[in-house]
């Protein structure tokens, strides 16, 4: 049974769409894409059709968002609205058609990253929730939980510190390392506060990749066997 978080899309009916949405949430560098890749492989081996969708990847908005990030002229409100437009485009052009056709949609981040990033930047939380009221409630939301110490080491070992992921636009600190820690700490607090509100299934992401994947598969399997089709 599909449902929207708020006012929804009055001109679209989701009745009888057989697909499912599984969202993997978590902050930057926590290992979401690795887990999604492994989960996808496993699901496909088991015969499920899988479609992936990810943040800012919409055909409509990606060039604009990239441009806006590069030019640094964005304020927090236009940022939020650009991301919401991107999400709406992917929802209607990718996610809903996939649900209709019976795919499992693996979403690399869902609306929660947008809520967290805007929330720490002081955008009104009630307004944000109303804005994203057109989003479909995922069937499962996994939240990969990590602490700042683990996260910073993991990011430094892989791709290094990035301007936006360190929240440098917020001018929290001159030093990117200090800024990263402060920014990510407030993001993690924001995610934590959403866990109950949005029924997150919390997974300890400090563990090895295989251990996290095992938990994911166990829970996804139980869910898929429990509800054979979305009616």
């Amino acid at each position: 049974m599909s449902d929207f978080y708020g006012h929804g899309l009055p001109y679209i009916s989701l009745d009888g769409y057989p697909g499912k949405i599984i969202a993997i949430e978590g902050t930057d560098g926590v290992g979401r894409s690795t887990q999604i890749r492994l989960l996808r492989e496993w699901l496909e081996v088991r015969g499920y059709g899988v479609v992936e969708t990810g943040w800012t990847r919409s055909a409509l908005m990606q060039p604009t968002i990239d441009l806006a990030k590069a030019s640094n002229t964005l304020n927090k409100l236009t940022f939020v609205l650009l991301y919401a437009t991107d999400f709406a485009d992917r929802l209607e052009k990718e996610i809903i058609p996939a649900l209709k056709a019976g795919f499992i949609v693996l979403s690399d981040r869902y609306i929660f990253t947008a809520l967290a990033r805007a929330g720490v930047r002081g955008v009104d939380r009630a307004w944000l929730r109303e804005l994203y009221g057109f989003a479909i409630k995922p069937d499962l939301v996994f939240y990969l939980k990590v602490d700042v110490d683990t996260l910073v080491q993991r990011v430094l070992q892989s791709r290094g510190l990035d301007f936006w992921e360190s929240g440098m636009d917020m001018k929290l600190a001159d030093d990117i390392y200090d800024s990263f820690r402060t920014y990510q700490r407030s993001l993690l607090r924001e995610y934590a506060s959403m866990a109950d509100e949005f029924d997150f299934r919390v997974l300890d992401a400090r563990r090895p990749i295989e251990a996290i994947q095992k938990d994911l598969r166990t829970q996804v399997e139980a869910f898929l066997e429990g509800t054979p089709a979305r009616t």
Binding site: G6, H7, G8, L9, P10, Y11, A59, L60, M61, P63, T64, L67, A68, T73, L74, N75, L77, T78, L81, L82, A84, T85, A88, D89, L91, E92, K93, V123, D124, W127, E130, L131, G133, F134
Partner: protein, 224 residues
């Protein structure tokens, strides 16, 4: 930040907006109003709906491919509005200028609702907007607006005619059906938001006379 277009702003400037469907003549009236205000010695800044550089590329690409859904259409316009509010509307209001806006949030309320987006959702979306000091609604019968647009040999645009909704394959017919819906929503907004209605079927000069009267009354009242 959120006033739901109900609480007056406390900037020293004034915000005057014009609303109405395509072919209502609101842009002509706004241009004449700007000329007069400047001649009277006011500092004026004009801003148009959907004109920010930020979303121009996406809107243009989306429109060209007819790829916009009612929701992305709505959100792109809100993004444009947020960008202009922060760069083009609030700064001149802070500087004590008169800001003239060609279309405002009410356009979104009317058009997006006519496209099937939830009316309360659109209102919530724009709750960060500054409440105008004066909102003029140029009300025109649908036939008059179509005659004006056709007389100007304007090609009715895909989204303006609501062709994305599949109402009719004929652009004029689609425009008539869609803009009639928009008019019906506008009529409801008049009381909800206290829009001042101007009969836009009259002559340009007569309408401008009424506009200037309303604006000067408002400016005098604000000065007291």
């Amino acid at each position: 930040m959120l006033n739901n277009l109900t609480a007056p702003h406390d900037y020293p400037g004034r915000l005057i907006v014009v609303e109405g469907i395509d072919g209502s003549g609101k842009t002509t009236q706004l241009g004449l109003l700007a000329k007069w205000l400047e001649a009277e010695g006011h500092k004026v800044s004009v801003t148009e709906w959907n004109s920010s550089a930020l979303v121009k590329a996406a809107t243009k690409a989306g429109k060209k491919k007819n790829a916009l859904t009612p929701m992305t259409f709505s959100l792109l316009h809100a993004t444009d509005f947020a960008d202009r509010l922060l760069y083009k509307i609030v700064p001149p209001l802070k500087a004590g200028m008169i800001v003239l806006a060609d279309r405002y949030a009410y356009t979104a309320f009317a058009r997006d609702a006519a496209r099937g987006v939830h009316p309360q959702w659109v209102r919530g979306l724009y709750s960060f907007a500054v409440k105008p000091d004066l909102a003029l609604y140029f009300r025109v019968p649908i036939d008059v607006s179509i005659d004006r647009l056709l007389a100007r040999r304007v090609k009715l645009k895909f989204y303006e005619a609501g062709m994305d909704l599949g109402l009719s394959t004929n652009a004029t017919e689609s425009f008539r059906i869609f803009q009639s819906r928009v008019l019906a929503v506008y009529d409801g907004l008049v009381d909800e938001y206290g829009l001042r209605v101007i009969d836009a079927s009259g002559s340009i000069t007569d309408q401008q006379h009424i506009v200037r009267k309303l604006v000067s009354e408002h400016l005098e009242a604000a000065d007291e």
